[in-house]
Symmetry: C2
Subunit: 156 residues, 2 copies
DNA sequence: GAAAATTAGTAACATATGTTACTATTCAGC
DNA sequence: GCTGAATAGTAACATATGTTACTAATTTTC
């Protein structure tokens, strides 16, 4: 199991195992979550980026697209596309801002709110189920570690 | 900060904050890692899926494409494409298996090994830097929590 | 207060990724 | 040992995502 260090080893001098590489494990875990949650989105006819935008608008009630960009890892093009899709499905409304006509404030329609609630319910249930595998102290440790990693990921 | 529970709240009855939703935080963290590590791949002219395949071959010395599929969250088409790319760049060689001519065994060329070592070095350095933000016990707890979540993500 | 720089958002293009269906080969059952 | 199911891998297509460059509105600077 220990890595060979002789010159014949394909990875001579570097002991690297993808399956033990933490960033890879975290990315893979994220994929697994996404795949699982996709069922909930699909059932409601909503894509992943659309769901994210929906959730951010729901949380803030009224928010400009650029502020959605600031609160997610999505770029402004993804947000633009997601908003168009949501508007088409009549889940979101754009209200041009009088004081700055470049920005449009986004709000949910009542249909948008009910879709949001249905997906959020499923998402929270799923989160609760997977977290229930952890002890309370493990859960707390995970949260603080995630916070530290979030900071470090972008600054180190 | 507490969610309103009256009927006027856009998320009445559901207290959901995307930024606090653990699966979302893990996906976002994965994106941040990928973005950071992409610099190392780009410098060597290798894509993310190609790097993953490279790493798995390096670890096993000699492995069939289907077994790469089994060891990563990639589907067989992604692996097929990555292998083609790596073969084109002469980082990987395919050797048709005599006992079953459907499968081709993959090995690294010496050039492939040196590229692998360079990227692995950068990746391990990056991992070490971000993990250095955690205490030893936090690191251990993270590993066990990740293992539990990996199991739960696909089964719950 | 006009010209230059900045910002919000989108269009158009290129690239990447997922999906379906196919070929070639091997395996299983009879 | 022949027929039907299974497997490894890929081609061709559809969809999604990232990138660049643009428009329109606003702010800044002189």
């Amino acid at each position: 199991m220990a890595a060979q260090k002789d010159g014949l080893s394909p990875n001579a001098g570097v002991s690297f195992s993808l399956e033990e590489f933490i960033p890879f494990r975290i990315v893979s875990l994220g994929h697994a979550f996404s795949r699982r949650l996709a069922d909930a989105y699909d059932d409601e006819g909503v894509t992943i980026p659309e769901w994210r935008v929906l959730a951010v608008i729901a949380e803030h009630r009224r928010i400009a697209a650029r502020d959605v960009v600031a609160r997610t890892p999505m770029d402004k093009m993804s947000v633009s596309r997601a908003v168009s899709g949501l508007e088409h499905k009549q889940l979101v409304e754009r209200a041009p801002e009088e004081t700055d006509r470049r920005v449009a404030m986004l709000t949910l329609t009542s249909h948008g709110r009910s879709i949001f609630r249905r997906i959020a319910k499923i998402a929270l249930d799923y989160e609760a189920r997977i977290l229930s595998e952890l002890t309370v102290s493990e859960r707390k440790a995970l949260c603080t570690s995630l916070s530290k990693l979030e900071v470090g990921a972008n600054n180190l």
